[in-house]
Amino acid sequence: MSGILVSSKIVGAALVLSLALAACGTGSGGTTSTAPPAAATIEIGSLYEPQNLDNTAGGGQGVTEVFNGNVYEGLFKLTDAGKVENLLAESHKVSPDGLTYTFTLRKGVKFHSGKPLTSADVKYSIEKVTAKDSQSARKSGFKPVKSIETPDDATVVVKLASRSISLVYNLSYVWIINSAAKNLTTTEDGTGPYKLGAWKRGSTLSLDRFDGYWGAKPTNKGVVFHYFTDATALNNALLTNAVDIVTSEQSPDALAQFKDNKDYRVSDGHSTTKLLLAFNDRKAPFDKPLVRKAVTSAIDNAKLLESIWAGYGSLIGSMVPPTDPWYEDLTKVNPYDVNLAKKELAEAGYAKGFAFTLDTPNYDPHPTAAAFIKSELAKVGITVTINVITADEWYSKVYKNRDFAATLQEHVNDRDVVWYGDPDFYWGYDNPQVTKWVAEAEQAETTEVQTELLKKVNRQIAEDAASDWLYLYPQIVVASSDLSGYPINGLNSQFYVYGIKKG
């Protein structure tokens, strides 16, 4: 953790800049205050308005986008390139048995309310995520935590019941919140470079620069998130200069208007969202790996991706996106090959094909993908009945009751290949070897061992065609060309705004 030796200002600046900017800027960031007095306000367009402002009370993807790293900070941060770095933690030590983590907090950090950061706030914040009524998506990652101690104001000691190599990574999702703060669904008290300005529901949320910030000042005066429920209205806002940047394009339809236009820049980054054709691996016919492999080989994923994303996005052949450390290109394991599919079906005893119902969520791109899959599988004698269901129905029918043959669903998180180690998950993939590897990986002593084990997991599930990973979504950011310093990968819907500059 070399960050300890470097002055906080430079660390801040380094964190701020996205890859693109870092490549052309030559150190101007660290020397002087980077924000001129007349720095502009950046207008940001997004489709993800927060439900409320508390990420442990169902705030959703929207609150992550607007608050992660901007208003709230964690002990660590996940950079746009997928690396974990120190943030509010100045350093940390791990005991030789891997069961005790000692974190030293950065000095001079203040909450927006003016209260200095102490270890008690950290303990409070972690416990808020693990609390019984917490709706945090990261809750399960903290299962190994046995106790949290605060020997002094600047030290936090976390004791574990079993090794957890992902602890530091998981902590990058835990907002450090003032333990005395109230009404967190409508207000905030974080340590980030911005404080909440005003939130007009259904319309805008503004962030103002926080003058007492411990790190480098943001390069803009503030940002305003403009929320849209409709992608077309959002693109129109960008076309008419009502917003400067769009955080994430959800379809390629409007891109033609921006792509060949020198006033705009289209960035094609990496996302972590995968579209899955998830089989119910418990039930015939999909309990046979050979049948799943045959179906996988019968569907031309490249053509599907082209028809939905028109040249954007990528094929990965497994659950692991390239930003995960254990990524490998596994598209060759079950190649698109209709003859191979027919052969495998015959071998599995389904030479004449079979019929199944595909539970399809009623929002795009699922119905489109379902129609495509139906026509592809018809070519190998498999009859698909498309059953369109709502998100509610999906949760109760598929996710909770496992009453399905196959379904379509997008899985948004990074590092979620580990779900294949849980035989109780909705898709019911049960391979004891994989379950063991996943458990061992979490308890590994080094990231090398962890990475090696998860690569094995990845290869095995691809070999078994546990699901058909149709494609990886693209992450497309469109900005007006006088804007720079914005994140392009938007990992897990984070969107760091403090480095964005106009002009």
Binding site: Q51, N52, A57, G58, D133, Q135, T185, T186, A198, K200, R201, G202, S203, T204, S206, V224, H226, F228, T229, D230, A233, L234, N236, A237, L239, T240, A242, A391, D392, Y395, S396, Y399, K400
Partner: protein, 321 residues
């Protein structure tokens, strides 16, 4: 008049009560517990129980009904499942967009429709009479959101003279900016509204033009304008005003769809979002407020009609003890 006012007010209050009751029953008697909709956020059984308790769906129906009416009487519309904020507060903040949008569109529609409708009837023999008539026939058949789409394409995307959507962050602090952003939505609604208004104005004018009293007045030497002013206008206004009440209400609802086209943070957007998120308190709140608005508009239109209608006025005057 006082007695009429009293009776009409009593009827309004009764209607409001009935509307609240119907809305309550519709939402409760249709299958499913509103709290179940929380399943979609992956809620645990305890959370659903808590939600049931919060919205009160675990209590007997009459008790729920009592507290719903009690809340309404105190202007308390409950709290949103999703945002955990008071619904009434959010509705109030969104009326800042929806009410001006409705009134401006309505005014524009009336200003356009009355002269055009009159001309279409009065000059039915000239070439533009039938033309105006045909255009209005077309206008009532066009989906309002489609007009919005086309106007955005032409005036915002192609000509770049007006914003494509959204509402200024500082709302009415900068009236010029607020009005600019309402320009296209207002024109959109007004176009569709005036199409149907033109038809009413036209047929009301046709009836008046053919009426005996107008012919008599002219035969007795009144100028056309004079006769029209003294007798025709008032008689033509009566049916038009009752239609105006309905049209104002329709305008308010047209706003629901048009707000979606123009990404305006109004009541319509709130309702669509509430439905998508299965946020029952929000759906219930928006529907109650809109239904009440429609009923009150109807009440107002009735009153105005009474005041204007010569026959009814005479009747009232004569009936006074």
């Amino acid at each position: 008049m006082a007695r009429y006012l009293l009776r009409r007010t009593a009827f309004l209050l009764g209607s409001l009560l009935l509307a609240a009751t119907l809305l309550f029953l519709l939402l409760r008697l249709l299958p499913g517990d509103p709290a179940n909709s929380l399943l979609s956020v992956g809620a645990t059984p305890e959370q659903i129980a808590a939600a049931r308790h919060q919205i009160g769906s675990d209590r007997p129906l009459p008790e729920q009904f009592g507290s719903w009416l009690g809340g309404l009487a105190r202007f308390d519309l409950g709290t949103s499942f999703v945002s955990t904020l008071p619904v009434g507060q959010e509705i109030a903040s969104r009326l800042v967009v929806t009410v001006p949008l409705t009134l401006l569109s309505f005014l524009l529609a009336v200003v356009v429709a009355v002269p055009v409708g009159f001309l279409a009837a009065y000059r039915a023999d000239r070439w533009y009479g039938p033309l105006l008539n045909g255009v209005s026939q077309l206008g009532i058949a066009v989906p309002v959101f489609w007009i919005g789409m086309l106007l955005v394409t032409v005036f915002a995307l192609r000509l770049r003279v007006l914003p494509a959507g959204g509402f200024p962050r500082h709302e009415w602090e900068d009236p010029a900016a607020a009005l600019t952003s309402l320009a296209l939505p207002v024109v959109t609604i007004a176009l569709v509204m005036s199409a149907s208004l033109i038809r009413y104005v036209r047929s009301a004018t046709v009836d008046v033009l053919g009426a005996d009293y107008l012919r008599t007045a002219r035969a007795l030497g009144s100028s056309f304008v004079g006769a029209m002013w003294r007798h025709g206008l008032r008689n033509a206004a009566v049916p038009v005003i009752s239609i105006l009440g309905i049209e104002l209400a329709t305008t308010f609802l047209g706003a629901v769809v048009v707000e979606s086209v123009f990404a305006l943070p109004g009541l319509g957007g709130m309702l669509v979002k509430g439905i998508a998120e299965h946020d029952y308190p929000v759906i219930q709140g928006v529907l109650v407020v809109s239904t009440f608005a429609v009923l009150v508009i109807g009440f107002a239109a009735d009153l105005v009609q009474r005041l204007v209608d010569p026959r009814l006025r005479a009747h009232l005057a004569g009936g006074r003890p």
